[in-house]
């Protein structure tokens, strides 16, 4: 069986994201399912740039999952999205 590629996840640690809930997301090792953790490559990124993009409809904190930027991220939402992403 071919080894499945890990899902690339980037959590923004910029100021605007960090103070609006991003700090909670950095505890991902505590709240994510180990299976999900194993299937993802999670990194921090100093700024995704969503906060400066007028076209962006959603608010910080932002997380980029497999190239797509999601806003207003919470621990629950991240669990759900990553669960879907690794099974996609």
């Amino acid at each position: 069986m071919e080894k499945k590629e890990k899902v690339s996840v980037k959590i923004c640690v910029g100021t605007a994201c960090f103070v609006q809930g991003g700090a909670d997301l950095l505890l991902y090792q505590d709240f994510l399912d180990p299976v999900v953790l194993a299937g993802c490559d999670i990194q921090g990124v100093s700024c995704i740039g969503g906060c400066k993009d007028d076209a962006m409809q959603v608010r910080p904190p932002y997380v980029e999952i497999a190239g797509q930027v999601f806003g207003e991220m919470t621990q629950e939402k991240l669990c759900k999205l990553l669960q879907e992403a690794i099974h996609a």
């Binding site: 640690v13 100021t15 605007a16 609006q20 950095l26 906060c51 400066k52």
Partner: protein, 397 residues
């Protein structure tokens, strides 16, 4: 920024059983460290009485050396003012005053006044240097002994040191491990060996070494207060702090040039700024997820930079910790701690502040502590200068 830094520090151990010292050390800086005056005084006796005498002497000597008054006159005023000891019926305290002024070249002009303290020692690198002193006989009315001041003027160049200590150092071990004590020659050869072993040793560490050695010679029960102060003239350790993107995007490469041409440690504080630097220098920026706390976002790593942090939150926490003089070891292991450690290891800190407004920070739902960058840098500068005696400078881009 100056190309010469004067590192002054001292170490002290009180006489065994005493909770207060009879040796008093004072230091003050004026005009951004262009003039430093340090005074060491040893009062008659020990404990509170000696401390009163020494404090009076040191404080007066200190104040008078900032005035244009003649040296002999100042010394007479001090001696006339000192209270008389009830048992010994004399008033007495020794002192050494070192007035250090930075001259225009890479040299420091020293004006040294010594009264009854052991002679100061000078080293150029690890080589001891002897010099002549002018003797001034005070011939004061009511003096119980001949009072002779030693006065000398000389220059200290980069790499030289001046050691000034009380008789607790030269008499250490007297009657115990050494018949006549450690003596000046003993201190000189010890200091020489320490400097040979560690040519860049800081004033703080060298003073500590001398005092510990004297304490050991006294078999850890000091017979007198042991005090040593060291003046070390050296090249400053510099740190650059870059925060905020330039006002105009065209200046991005100028900012990176400034970072690359800087000699010393480099810190970039700010996510966007770090990304600009990463893009232009073509070096990878990697967030270090192991180093953060709930109040401070993680730091990042980039080749060629000592530290990369988030901007406003980190700087605001750094400013608060510096203002409160919180020691680095009491802080959680995050960007703030690393930032403060680098600040403490520097003599001069240069700030380059980008003036571009961050639209993301204009959002009313963001906490108030994200202040204005310039105000924050002002707080940092004041805290570094007032609490840690660092030299700082600032430029906007």
């Amino acid at each position: 920024m100056n190309d010469v830094f004067i590192d002054v520090d001292y170490a002290q151990i009180y006489k065994h059983g005493q909770k207060i010292g009879g040796d008093v050390f004072l230091l003050s800086r004026q005009d951004a460290s262009a003039q430093i005056v340090c005074t060491l005084s040893d009062g008659l006796g020990s404990g509170v009485k000696a401390n009163v005498l020494a404090s009076l002497t040191a404080r007066m000597a200190h104040k008078l050396s900032f005035s244009p008054m003649d040296l002999t006159h100042s010394a007479k005023i001090i001696m006339n003012t000192l209270p008389v000891c009830k048992e010994r019926k004399i008033s007495y305290a020794t002192f050494t005053i070192a007035d250090l002024r930075r001259s225009n070249e890479d040299e420091v002009l020293v004006n040294l006044v010594e009264y009854d303290n052991p002679s100061a020692l000078m080293f150029q690198g690890s080589i001891p240097i002897q010099w002549e002193r002018d003797k001034i006989d005070l011939r004061r009315d009511g003096a119980f002994k001949q009072e002779v001041l030693g006065h000398s003027q000389f220059k200290l160049s980069i790499g030289s040191r001046l050691l000034i200590f009380s008789d607790g150092v030269t008499q250490a071990g007297m009657g115990k491990s050494l018949p006549l004590g450690w003596r000046l020659e003993g201190v000189r050869s010890f200091a020489q060996k320490v400097i040979e072993r560690d040519p860049d040793i800081s004033s703080h560490d060298l003073a500590r070494e001398v005092v510990s050695r004297a304490h050991t010679l006294d078999r850890l029960t000091a017979k007198d207060d042991i005090t040593c102060m060291v003046v070390y003239v050296r090249k400053p350790r510099r740190t650059l702090v870059v925060t905020g993107p330039p006002f105009k995007q065209e200046q991005d490469s100028l900012l990176v040039d400034k970072i690359q041409s800087f000699e010393g440690k480099r810190i970039v504080s700010g996510g966007t700024t770090a990304q600009i630097v990463s893009r232009i220098m073509n070096r990878q920026l990697k967030v270090d997820m192991s180093c953060w706390s709930p109040q401070v976002p993680p730091c990042s790593k980039m080749e060629g930079l000592e530290l990369v942090t988030e901007g406003m939150l980190t700087l605001s926490k750094v400013a608060t910790a510096l203002e409160q003089k919180r020691p680095a070891y009491t802080l959680p292991n995050d960007a703030v701690k690393k930032f403060i450690q680098i600040m403490q290891e520097s003599d001069q800190v240069h700030f380059i502040v980008g003036t571009k407004i961050n639209e993301a920070h204009q959002d009313p739902s963001i906490p108030v502590e994200i202040g204005i960058r310039r105000t924050l840098i002002g707080r940092l500068q004041r805290a570094l200068e007032d609490n840690y005696l660092k030299e700082t400078s600032l430029e906007y881009i």
